[in-house]
Amino acid sequence: MRYAMAIDTKKCVGCSDCVVACQTENNVPMGFARDWIVESVAGTYPRVEMEIRSERCNHCEDAPCVRCCPTGASHIIEGGVVLVKHDACIGCMACIEACPYDARYPHPDGYVDKCTFCIHRVDKGEDPACVAVCPTHCLHFGDLDDPNSDVSKVVAERKWKVLAPEAGTKPQLYFLM
């Protein structure tokens, strides 16, 4: 099993619903975020192009945040989901320093927190909160090892890229172009 997410940049409007939904679903404290929106504009008026991306932890296959964690609080579970055990985390921040995507944040309670792929929902057969709320249906979540999953299909059919592949982490967010 290999959970992954695909983000359709041709449809995302940067509305940030995914960000609010994550806040309310996961009780992300005010001032922090597990996901965020990037607007990337290129060109000169009126020849302009823009890509909007909803970003979050890439649940890297080769996750440096897990490798550098001295306590094993950062770990990978079945399906490749990278998680942090809050009560094993000493708050050394090594994993934040190690993440090329700056996908983690220091929770005010001391531990480090990040996107969980909403595994508590996924385990119940639901989509992650951000995926379930997205009004443009531009987020696809599922198991890449299952060729019939939504995410497998779009990744197979569409052109895509991953972010900072040169960081060598084998990220699992696929940005459809």
């Binding site: 409007v13 309310t24 060109g43 000169t44 531990y111 119940k124 009004p135």
Partner: protein, 746 residues
């Protein structure tokens, strides 16, 4: 202002220490459970139905709360055709409206004599008694028409019902003259029907969507954005006409960066190409329309080459896009837009849009405009309203002939005493509209307010308008109350229930309770004969085969369409509700009222040297001024910025992120500085700002002083002679890099 105003802005902060007595709920830190420390609330949460009030799309959803009754999240109702199970960011963040610790907490009365700068807390009884007494006196002395009402939003229905019973006839909403009015008038005179809300656009099935300044994606009207996305998936062509590189433009096949204020020229040129190249729907035009010959003659010389000189859109692009539309027809939508009060000739632009749709045969066709159907909920019988002695039309006999709602600007004008009249408006009741932000030219609004004897504001938040009130009534949020059943017409007739998820926080009350109490105190109890709203709703629902009990369970109930006419113009005979019974390409209404029966292009003023056109719009995570203080949404965007083209920035030596003050052509300076965003997404002759920021009320602890208010800078209003829309995009601003001195800031 020369004299000491009797109605200066009160810092509600000074409302007495009592305001502090209420504990300020913060967003609750829910206990961390589970190995990952996430909330795994699924099992323990209960849900109640609601429909959203963060904007007017009114998406139905479920409010989830935990065992202690804390509202945790709001999720769309799967059965709802407005939301399809997905709220927009503002709806998802609606929880913040409930949690916002800055909320109005208890009735407030301006202390002492007029002009006093203090509020004191009052009981509901005292506040309502005072209103009843004051309104009674005004009725006695000047007639009930002297109390004007501004209302916006669902709860406004109860309040306007009360005020109509009282005899008021000046009942206005910003949704007409500041929003949809031109489009309503234009479509009504063309098709005999309106576009309505939610718009009857069949975006889901369209093959070509033409957006003329309609910035869907930033304009987050949920159903539209969802359907636009679906259309993208199905390969629809999107053509966006917008001087700014909007989000929609970035998802479009064609972006036409039009010169602002020239859209009518483009629309005429499109008609020219479509008629000239015989691309229009001949059968449809022949069978259903009136005035084709006149139209053809009218656009004969409106060539793309002609339009190029005006719009800066190259002729080949105009031709190509016209052919794309025709190719997709009738599954094409030239979108009517929604906030369409731009330049004062907006009804004519909307007419041009309506005509273009008619030529393409999209009205009443799949992928074009469908026929929505609603649920006819009966009204509980009440006595007739008294007949008003005056209406606004008495004062505007030869003006705004096609306006069918009260103009907000007329209410403001008639509130300022004028020797040519022997009667003025003396008091306002304002429900759910932050007039200092929603009406253009804030200072003009304040001048009107300054002349009032009495101002009552019913709001949930200490918004700027609240600071000018004599009596403030705190309403509870939509999450804590019942409201009328939502029956907005849609593809499938449907009903949605809003019910309280929890008891109202603080000493706030729902609109129905306020209206009924006031009615009783004013001797109008007959108009509110039901015991409480549950009784009213249950009675209404039972008449249409449901019940309150059922609606509480399902939230949304879909009904059967009575007529099988979702797409009805496929050759069927049909009589339109127009003078000619046809789709009027040539408008007999307009001709009769003395307006151009066919739309024409007229040039508009351009920015003077050193000034830039002030363009404004929406941010997807905010609604007007109402969400600026919402903790969840504030978190996403705390302030607006002014978009500046890099060339302009260089000229003015502006840096990204720098704060500047804006000064408009009339010397009005923004109250607060605004951050510069240097971006290629904006033309060099305009700047852009998101509407709804720059709040002046300190009690809004998050929103206060953040960003600039566009409304303040819109001092030049281009009135639409046809229906009185307030064209707001003809204002020009320049940059001040230093804090302006007292004498310039007005």
């Amino acid at each position: 202002m020369k004299h000491t105003s009797r109605r200066d802005f009160i810092k509600i902060t000074g409302a007495g220490a009592g305001a502090m007595m209420f504990a300020r709920p913060t967003i609750k830190a829910f206990s961390q459970g589970g190995e990952q420390g996430d909330v795994h609330p699924g099992e323990t949460l209960t849900r109640t139905p609601t429909y959203c009030e963060v904007c007017f799309w009114k998406c139905a959803g479920w409010v989830y709360k935990d065992k202690e009754g804390n509202i945790q999240k709001i999720i769309g109702n799967e059965d709802d055709p407005h939301s399809n199970g997905r709220m927009c960011p503002r709806g998802t963040g609606g929880v913040g409206m409930y949690w916002d610790g800055d909320r109005l907490k208890t009735p407030l009365i301006r202390e002492g004599k007029p002009g006093s700068q203090k509020f004191r807390e009052a009981s509901w009884d005292e506040a309502l008694d005072l209103i009843a007494k004051k309104f009674g006196e005004i009725k006695e002395k000047y007639g009930p028409e002297s109390v004007a009402v501004f209302s916006h939003g669902t709860g406004g229905k109860m309040i306007t019902h009360l005020m109509k019973a009282y005899g008021s006839s000046f009942i206005a909403a910003p949704s007409f003259a500041q929003c949809r009015g031109p489009r309503q008038v234009a479509f009504l005179s063309t098709f005999g029907e309106e576009v309505m809300s939610p718009e009857r656009t069949d975006i889901r099935d369209t093959k070509c969507l033409v957006l003329i300044g309609s910035h869907i994606g930033e304009n987050m009207h949920n159903g539209q954005i969802q359907e636009m996305s679906e259309a993208i998936d199905k390969g629809a062509t999107i053509i966006t006409v917008d001087p700014r590189y909007s989000t929609a433009a970035s998802h479009s096949k064609y972006w036409l960066p039009i010169k602002p204020a020239t859209d009518i020229a483009l629309l005429l040129a499109w008609m020219h190409v479509i008629i000239n190249e015989e691309l229009y729907d001949k059968k449809y035009v022949e069978k259903y329309t009136y005035g084709f010959k006149e139209l053809k003659e009218h656009v004969k010389d409106k060539t793309p080459e002609w339009a190029y000189g005006i719009t800066t859109i190259p002729p080949d692009v105009i031709r190509k896009t016209a052919r794309e539309m025709a190719h997709a027809a009738p599954a094409v939508i030239v979108h009517p837009g929604r906030h369409v009060v731009w330049y004062g000739d907006d009804t004519q632009r909307s007419r041009a849009i309506a005509i273009l749709n008619a030529l393409l045969g999209s009205w009443g066709r799949r992928g074009g405009f469908f026929v929505p159907e609603g649920v006819p909920l009966p009204k509980w019988p009440v006595p007739d309203y008294p007949k008003p002695k005056r209406t606004w039309k008495d004062f505007y006999k030869d003006q705004y002939g096609l306006a069918f709602e009260v103009l907000t600007s007329a209410v403001c004008d008639l509130s300022i005493p004028d020797p040519s009249r022997d009667w003025d408006i003396k008091a306002w009741l304002v429900y759910g509209t932050n007039l200092t932000a929603s009406l253009p030219d804030t200072n003009a609004t304040l001048k009107a307010i300054d002349n009032l004897d009495f101002l009552v504001v019913i709001d949930t938040m200490p918004m700027d308008i609240v600071s000018y009130a004599d009596v403030v009534l705190p309403e509870c949020t939509y999450l804590e109350r019942y409201d009328g059943i939502r029956t907005s017409p849609h593809r499938v007739p449907n009903m949605a229930l809003r019910m309280p998820a929890t008891e109202p926080l603080y000493n706030s009350k729902p609109n129905w309770w306020i209206a009924k109490q006031l009615a009783e105190k004013m001797g109008l109890g007959d108009y509110f004969p039901w015991k409480d709203i549950e009784q009213l709703l249950d009675w209404q629902l039972k008449k249409v085969g449901s019940s309150l009990e059922e609606m509480k369970r399902v939230g949304v109930k879909l009904m059967k369409r009575e007529y099988d006419d979702l797409y009805f113009l496929n050759g069927e005979d049909y009589e339109f509700n127009t003078n000619t019974g046809k789709i009027e390409l040539y408008s007999t209404d307009f001709a009769a009222a003395g307006f151009d029966p066919l739309p024409d292009y007229t040039p508009h003023p351009e920015p003077p040297p050193g000034f830039y056109r002030l363009n404004y719009g929406r941010a997807p995570m905010h609604t007007f001024s109402r969400t600026a203080n919402n903790p969840n949404l504030w978190e996403l965007r705390k302030e607006n910025s002014v978009w500046v083209n890099p060339k302009v920035a260089k000229l003015w030596d502006l840096k990204n992120g720098q704060y500047v003050w804006l000064k408009n052509q009339d010397g009005v300076v923004s109250s607060f500085p605004v951050k510069v965003r240097i971006t290629e997404r904006i033309r060099w002759d305009s700047v852009y700002m998101v509407h709804g920021f720059g709040h002046k009320e300190k009690q809004l602890t998050r929103a206060y002083g953040r960003g600039a208010s566009d409304s303040e800078l819109i001092t030049k209003v281009a009135m639409d002679p046809i229906m009185g829309g307030t064209g707001m995009r003809g204002n020009f601003v320049t940059f001040l890099t230093e804090k302006p001195g007292k004498e310039v800031a007005s």
